[in-house]
Symmetry: C2
């Protein structure tokens, strides 16, 4: 299948950092971006998309989420993290079955597609149901079977994870990674077993880290250490590590992280809502640590609109550092695209619009009351465009949304199904 | 004209703080809410709106903005406040004519209507053009002719303002207030003349205050004082005061403000983007100071979507105070509605859905990928709904938007006009 996109305004954050060109054509051949140029003059396309006056940019990459948590939207207000998990979420999660997980994930996949995300990095359980939903909608999925051993049997979970790894070893659209819940819910043994698995299959590890102050205290106790930051060096040498949150890493501790292969998945909205604080993203960048973005699950992150996450990311760093010149918009767009690809070990495949890469891209219409006039396209995308400005999404060369219609016939049916699920858990 | 709204889910923040009722009918008779009840059974309506499953809530009140600044959207990235004003904005503003102001304001009025705002509190110049745009779209306008005397002639400006006051003395839809730019751009004489005018006509004063650290230093010099906070007591005794920003008011200074009639117009997005910081809203509330919300102009505030402002307001206070229980969603909805009405001295007329009040209300559809499932309607409105979920808006009993169509025939023409204006200023 050949798709020809005509006349777009191309936005792409590559090694040269920032690119904006008008009147560009893009030729997609099966799953690949074949050509990016002015006036591509071919006739044998299967599908022509006129993108005159519209932005085409790489699909957004959500590097930390829990997509079955869509059904827990708006259940948090007024709770702290530990209280919310212990008293509300975990008792409800215990009652979830595979069908619940499938429909809850389907809702999230629809939400992601309709807000410009083309790839997500998840951490949950009943992973086959999550993957089924992702496959149904056509979104690129990075999944795991989350490991933890302060409650539950680690052997069974490791076995489940290894089965998943083998099942999707050669998949284009599904990548399995090793999910460690956190160092306050996993003992030394559990972490070491997980790391062994990551090494055996050359996978990255995806873990919550330094989300709030309580967590730091709990890690100290469980791992009998005064310095949880040092545990990273102890456990994860030579491991590609995606660390969600990192709110409680201090400036002076960052230096010591530079010897490790660490990627910070920044989830500013979730961190604020849970009262965790604000991660020092500007300092991670200064220390040349790769920062990507995530929504977290909807329970704490509200929704999966990565445009909102971009806006919060840029504004918070300017605000808390009292410096309006920090984090220009294109840097934040990088975080949501190419840095995300880097975090997920997929830099050569996705994250920018480049000949030879997989065709994961979105068409954004900035002709709207909240975005006009467009004086600076990078700023406009970060601060004013939102998921609903995304018109069309293409993932791995397939159109998964066109003019805001996904391939799910009746979205309202999914909404109703999810309402029934959450009622059944209360 | 009688409008009957059937079967809505009513959200209204009144004296009892929080109200949610399902299957409510609302009868609007000319400009007034005549009845709010279950099963209103009349036949002589002129217009029936079926709001089954939809939220009806008071229209949002934006208590600090500069609506002609729509054309400066996305011009700020990388500048500090004073630099941006001196080097970019003021030279461009000098070239604006009445027609420019009219079209730029029209764009903002469309943006406000389409994102759920039904009343705004502005500070700018060429005020007649702003009022013309507001009248065209049908939005409730609180305007002024901004006063300052460190540059320009104060006599002419005062005269212009007094003319406006007299012209709109008996208007329902247009209210003139006394706009003082700030204490760093207005001398003692200018402030005193402005206050005299406010007393003569019993008007409130709308002023920028304590936006950033530089400002505090400049006020100290211009007014020869060590304590700018004390100036409020000196100049504004017995004046109803709307103070935009108040970022640099410390906790311990709030006590002394309680003897004054102060309303804080919190503009969190603008404050972050300009690198000013984060106002201590939670402490203002503890000190029983009325807090309302504002977007500021688009140059610094990005857009006029008050739903975004609500989300930032709630999340920032939880985050910086590291306490997830602070500012429950309904408190933030109050700030955007009834507290805004209080700030603008219109509490008896607007800000809640109550029999006898003016009919300023919006119909919000929460059936969307970012808002489903709705587990808590207050949280959903604050954290997930955005301007684009607003379907229909009624102001002073007139439908100004229905199913997302305003009474402006060709919005794209206005967009194009605004593009031309900004090009002509560069």
């Amino acid at each position: 299948m050949k798709i020809l996109i005509k006349n777009c305004n191309l936005v792409s954050m590559t090694e040269e950092r920032k690119k904006y060109e008008e009147n560009i054509d893009i030729l997609i051949n099966n799953e690949t971006i074949e050509k990016v140029d002015k006036n591509i003059d071919i006739k044998d396309y299967d599908k022509l998309i006129d993108a005159t006056g519209k932005v085409v940019m790489p699909g957004l990459i959500n590097t930390h989420t829990h997509i079955p948590m869509s059904i827990f939207r708006d259940t948090l207000d007024g709770y702290g993290l530990q209280e919310w998990l212990n008293d509300r979420i975990w008792p409800m999660e215990d009652k979830l079955n595979e069908e619940d997980i499938y429909y809850a994930s389907l809702l999230s996949c629809i939400e992601m597609i309709k807000t410009g995300t083309t790839c997500f990095n998840d951490q949950y359980f009943m992973t086959n149901a999550i993957i089924s939903a992702a496959t149904k909608v056509g979104i690129r999925a990075h999944c795991t079977r989350t490991l933890m051993d302060i409650s539950g049997d680690i052997e069974e979970r490791l076995e489940e994870l290894e089965k998943l790894i083998n099942k999707y070893l050669n998949s284009d659209m599904v990548t399995i990674n090793v999910g460690i819940h956190s160092l306050y819910t996993c003992t030394k043994e559990c972490v070491e077993r997980a790391v062994d698995l990551a090494k055996k299959y050359n996978l990255y590890v995806h873990m919550h880290f330094a989300e709030n102050s309580n967590e730091i205290e709990d890690i100290k106790k469980l791992h009998n250490t005064n310095n949880p930051i040092n545990l990273l060096e102890k456990y994860f040498k030579d491991i590609h590590l995606v660390l969600a949150h990192c709110v409680k890493i201090k400036k002076e501790e960052m230096q010591s992280l530079k010897t490790l292969d660490i990627n910070v998945a920044h989830c500013p909205i979730s961190n604020l809502k849970l009262g965790c604080g604000i991660a020092k993203i500007n300092d991670f960048i200064k220390n040349e640590i790769n920062v990507s973005l995530g929504t977290d699950g909807q329970g704490s992150g509200n929704n999966l609109d990565m445009f909102e996450v971009m806006s919060y990311t840029a504004l918070l760093q300017k605000g808390i550092n009292e410096d309006a010149t920090l984090l220009p918009a294109y840097e934040v767009l990088k975080m949501a695209t190419i840095n995300g690809a880097k975090a997920l070990n997929k830099e050569s495949k996705i994250g920018s619009i480049k000949e030879g890469k997989n065709a994961d891209l979105i068409i954004v219409n900035l002709k709207s009351e909240k975005t006009e006039p467009v004086n600076d396209v990078f700023s406009n995308l970060v601060y004013n465009a939102r998921g609903n400005n995304v018109e069309t999404s293409i993932i791995n060369g397939k159109i998964v949304m066109e003019n805001r219609k996904t391939n799910i016939q009746n979205e309202e049916e999914i909404y109703n199904k999810c309402k029934t699920i959450i009622s059944s858990l209360a």
